[in-house]
């Protein structure tokens, strides 16, 4: 140790190899697909019941229905009240959550192995026998309408919603937030929720992802008893219509008078998870905005000090999802920040990536894989994504090699195909009186002023039902 050389990073050995177990993948008699990753480090089990089709499985006019249904699923069953369910979960030391994304709905249980039987009984009860009581439905609707109101006051949420709408328009499910809109939430009925539940929460649409300290021989009898009597195919989600063709680049401004920062978003409708360019895009985006040392963050934060953080993401879904770059930037530097976004995206598209930067991105993706599988809940998130996006379950076994195979040419080709900077939409939520003219002066495209989300027209009467 007396030869310590502080002048350069220490030489280290080779990375630990990451091995992946065989994942069991089979069906129960009632058609439920089971995906089991056994892992015995701790006496914990996590399960996710995933149902095909989330917000993409209902018309855009019903925006919010998938998430509304998920929210209502534990509000009472034919045998237990909502409060009994919540109490039971807490006393078991479990967590039970439900949610919906665009491509799937999810009910997730995390529990100690020795409590699995009781936990499964609760999960099966809410999935199989929810009653969606009118009184709870009215309350949940009110809560969700108020969430819409709250989103309208949060600049980042306003930017996200405007960005989705500009990209996908009003007729595509990806064009609205998962929460829905004031209009769509007011129009939803109990019948809509019941119908959505019937179509989606059925064995024929379900995959049960199980991770933790349990073997198939123990698991199967528990599942058979918990889900006894559950049957049906449900309805396969229809394929999504294509997103609108890309428009000419424009800057969309949502006014937020007095804002000290502008929320900026840039992007376009990009690729689905099934894209053959998955790996080149993963590397390209790591370089552009997917890591702290990415070009966007280096330029906008560490060089210019315009923002607390800038980044980008390809949000890949079953159908083509958005590419989105963004940051919250100080009001006076809004226009120069937008110019930097455009120039960094253009530079990545038009100039080859230097070898050292590519190596760094490869290592970033490949070497952090073990961390992405550290806990039971980490593993279940990874598997859940694979199932939702219809990706083979051995995906991660080939991940490191595939990342290593991507060369600069492949990254350049992918950038050329998937960064159409001349057609990107630019959304800015900020003080219009201060940002509009400088944005116009950039000459990047026409400036279109969007209406800010409307606040509630009038306070709704409090919801009160007899208990």
């Amino acid at each position: 140790m007396d030869t310590l050389d502080r002048s350069r990073a220490p030489e280290v050995g080779t990375p630990p190899a990451m091995t992946f177990p065989e994942v069991e993948d089979y069906r129960l008699d009632n058609g439920v697909r089971v995906v089991l990753w056994e892992r015995s480090a701790l006496p914990l089990v996590s399960l996710e019941l995933q149902l095909r089709g989330g917000a993409s499985a209902h018309p855009a006019a019903q925006a919010g229905l998938a998430a509304f249904t998920a929210d209502m699923i534990d509000e009472g069953t034919t045998t237990h009240t909502a409060l009994e369910i919540a109490d039971a979960v807490d006393v078991l030391g479990a967590t039970l959550t439900s949610s919906a994304g665009y491509d799937a709905s999810h009910v997730r249980l995390s529990i100690l192995r020795q409590k699995l039987r009781e936990g499964l009984a609760v999960l099966a009860d809410i999935v199989m026998r929810p009653t969606f009581p009118e009184a709870e439905l009215a309350r949940v609707r009110r809560e969700r309408l108020d969430q819409v109101l709250q989103r309208s006051a949060e600049p980042a949420a306003v930017a996200e919603d405007a960005f989705a709408r500009v990209l996908y328009g009003g007729d595509h499910p990806y064009g609205a937030s998962l929460l829905g809109t004031r209009e769509s939430l007011q129009a939803l009925t109990r019948d809509d929720v019941v119908a959505f539940h019937r179509a989606r929460y059925a064995p024929g649409q379900a995959t049960l992802v199980v991770v933790g300290d349990i073997a198939r021989a123990e698991l199967d009898p528990l599942l058979a008893s918990a889900f006894d009597g559950w049957s049906g195919l449900g309805v396969d989600p229809a394929p999504l219509s294509a997103a609108p063709a890309p428009a000419q680049r424009a800057i969309y401004v949502v006014d937020r008078a007095g804002a000290t920062q502008s929320e900026v978003r840039l992007g376009h409708v990009a690729v689905s998870r099934g894209t053959p360019d998955f790996y080149p895009l993963a590397l390209m985006n790591t370089i552009l905005g997917g890591s702290f040392t990415s070009r966007l963050n280096a330029k906008l934060r560490e060089e210019k000090g315009y923002t607390y953080g800038a980044g980008s993401v390809f949000d890949m879904r079953v159908a083509p999802g958005p590419f989105e770059a963004g940051a919250a930037v100080a009001t006076p530097v809004t226009a120069p920040a937008v110019a930097d976004f455009v120039s960094e995206i253009t530079r990545l598209r038009d100039e080859p990536v230097p070898p050292d930067e590519l190596t760094r991105a490869r290592n970033f993706l490949a070497l952090r894989l073990p961390q992405r599988f550290e806990s039971v809940d980490d593993v279940i998130r990874r598997l859940s994504e694979l199932v939702a996006h219809v990706v083979p379950l051995d995906f991660y076994a080939g991940y490191v090699a595939a990342v290593g195979d991507v060369d600069a040419q492949a990254v350049g080709d992918a950038a050329g195909r998937h960064l159409p900077v001349e057609h990107m939409a630019i959304v800015v939520v900020g003080d219009r009186s201060l940002v509009e003219e400088p944005l116009r002066a950039l000459g990047l495209g026409p400036v279109v002023v969007l209406e800010p989300p409307a606040p509630a027209a009038e306070p709704l009467p409090p919801v009160r039902e007899e208990q």
């Binding site: 002048s7 990375p15 914990l44 109101l149 000290t260 040392t293 607390y308 970033f364």
Partner: protein, 425 residues
């Protein structure tokens, strides 16, 4: 023995740096975690926000590590890293593939020992801008974003180090100089004020040698100065004190904050359990009664701040519906505080169970284990408290919760902050 039995071993360098090693080879990763005993409570008047700005400067390079290199090397190694600043401490952490342990030790030791030669005005100006943007993004440009600042002003007197929040003021950030950076570094970023924890997959003997080699030659530093201001506090605020904001918020909200025993007190566990009875989960009192039964609130939040100096803080807020009257929200919320006098045994049992679940679940990550061991070593000289923490929770009785509520959550100990949406003209 308790239900947790996470192994650990302690070591102390000659320069006073405390080291905790906790081996667990479940995943091929290792977490390196450093806690420095300095936070916003150490800031003198005119320097609010400086401890946090300083934390940003710690990523701007050191004698052997150029600007941006720290993040770059860790990301290149497949690691994750960050740092946070809190009232009582500042922590720095990275989780890396296990073979990269030495990289993390090299980076952390270089900035502990040799940060100042790399500082310059341009870096300070840049990070000042970044931090001001952090303040705008997280506080100034958010509805209700100033609640933290306003509540601290109400709960802690002006002379107390918790009177101001971690993010500080724009004016004080503007006033920060390179001399301040140097003085702060020399005073607080010394081995005797630091705890290093290594958790995960590593060779313990070799790691001790590496830690000795990388950190052993850093000079110990002087004893810390006393905390600024008056640290003594009465147990309760002494009154119901108020603040009201009429502004750009979508919904009315009432926040009630109360002084509670400091984190170092045995009674803090009682406060924690009481907090969970009140507001953790959908079977909690506030959710059950105010959201579900009476339907006066659309959401509830409760939190117990684990603070060391004088008093911690228990905080609860409820958000109303459009048109809800803040007076009604306040009555509903304070009514539930008073009703805790009839807390039942099953409620306490449930509260302990959910608190326990959250703790145990977090321990799967090496980074979390390391962070908690650093905290327990720095605060209480006892990393093993991680293993006994659940026993402390389980020992809390319904009687303790009831008498805690009666003694500590009454009208003589309330800071009430109300947000009211501005009426459209």
């Amino acid at each position: 023995m308790g239900i947790l039995d996470i192994p650990f071993r302690r070591h102390r360098l000659d320069n006073g740096m405390r080291v905790v090693l906790s081996h667990d080879a479940t995943a091929p990763v290792v977490a390196v975690n450093l806690w420095y005993g300095v936070g916003s409570r150490n800031e003198t008047p005119g320097h609010t926000g400086f401890a946090h700005l300083f934390e940003h400067m710690m990523f701007q390079g050191s004698l052997h590590v150029p600007k941006n290199r720290h993040f770059e090397l860790v990301e290149r190694a497949g690691g994750a890293l960050n740092a946070t600043t809190w009232y009582d401490r500042t922590n720095y952490f990275e989780t890396v593939p296990s073979h990269q342990l030495e990289l993390a030790l090299w980076l952390e030791s270089d900035r502990m020992g040799w940060m100042l030669p790399a500082m310059d005005q341009e870096k300070l100006d840049n990070q000042r801008d970044v931090v001001k943007n952090e303040k705008r993004q997280r506080y100034d440009n958010q509805p209700y974003g100033d609640w933290d600042e306003r509540i601290h002003r109400l709960v802690y007197p002006e002379s107390h180090p918790y009177h101001h929040t971690v993010i500080g003021s724009m004016e004080d950030l503007d006033a920060a100089t390179l001399d301040d950076v140097a003085a702060f570094f020399r005073t607080f970023y010394v081995p005797s004020n630091a705890v290093l924890t290594v958790a995960g997959d590593f060779d313990p003997e070799r790691t001790i040698d590496l830690v000795e080699a990388y950190f052993g030659e850093i000079p110990q530093g002087a004893p810390l100065p006393d905390l600024p201001g008056e640290t003594e506090l009465s147990a309760v605020i002494g009154d119901t004190v108020r603040d009201e904001v009429v502004g750009e918020v979508p919904l009315p909200r009432v926040i009630v904050a109360m002084r509670i025993p400091p984190y170092s007190s045995d009674d803090f566990a009682v406060a924690e359990v009481t907090q969970a009875v009140l507001g953790t989960g959908r079977a909690s009192r506030l959710y059950r009664r105010l959201v579900r039964e009476k339907r006066v609130a659309k959401d509830v939040v409760t939190f117990a701040f684990p603070l060391l100096t004088g008093a911690g803080m228990l905080l609860s807020w409820i958000t109303g519906y459009p048109g809800s009257r803040p007076e009604d929200l306040e009555v509903a919320l304070t009514g539930e505080l008073e009703a805790l006098g009839d807390t039942a045994a099953e409620e306490v049992e449930r509260a302990i169970a959910v608190t326990e679940t959250d703790l145990v679940r977090s321990l799967e990550h090496a980074g979390e284990r390391a962070d908690l061991m650093s905290m327990f070593e720095l605060y209480f000289d006892d990393p093993g408290r991680l293993n006994t923490e659940i026993d402390r929770l389980r020992a809390v009785t319904p009687d303790e919760v009831r008498s805690f509520a009666a003694g500590r959550l009454g009208p003589d100990n309330r800071a009430i902050l109300t947000y009211v949406p501005e009426q459209e003209p």
